[in-house]
Symmetry: C2
Subunit: 88 residues, 2 copies
């Protein structure tokens, strides 16, 4: 039996939304860890729940990745490059 | 036919690692977008490839999420809380 596709829009039911948040957050952190390990990537992931609770993951440290990112962004701006490569 | 499980360790073959990086990065960004939309979460995701290329996603702006996170971290440190909740 195939799983049903769900629509990607905000879940109205608060309880269902919190359950989905817990499950998918866990999945997202796992995928981030796997990507960093398999492909030697450096990752920082920051998640705030709808209630403002903070969850974070980094393959090294969030601070370090953010600083590296800011440095690169500044350089790119200085070189007048239109934008970073933004997937999705 | 079930998919084979893979071992989570660095992929030795460079080409295979790059292919896996592209595919899994795409998947990770998609999952981050879905989590933010479904559950009204605020997310920043920063990924550096092994070659130092930057990819990023945010439901709002990376800068905004990072600043919110830094503010909260500072407050937590000031209150002498041992650590944030770190899933995985």
């Amino acid at each position: 039996m195939a799983r049903q596709k769900i629509q990607i829009k905000k879940i109205d039911n608060i309880t269902a939304r919190q359950v989905t948040f817990s499950k998918r957050r866990r999945g997202l952190f796992k995928k981030a860890y796997e990507l960093s390990t398999l492909c030697d990537a450096e990752i920082a992931l920051i998640v705030f729940s709808a209630t403002g609770k903070l969850f974070e993951y980094s393959s090294t440290s969030v601070k370090q990745v953010v600083e590296k990112r800011n440095l690169l962004s500044e350089n790119l701006n200085r070189l007048d490059r239109p934008s970073l490569e933004l997937p999705v």
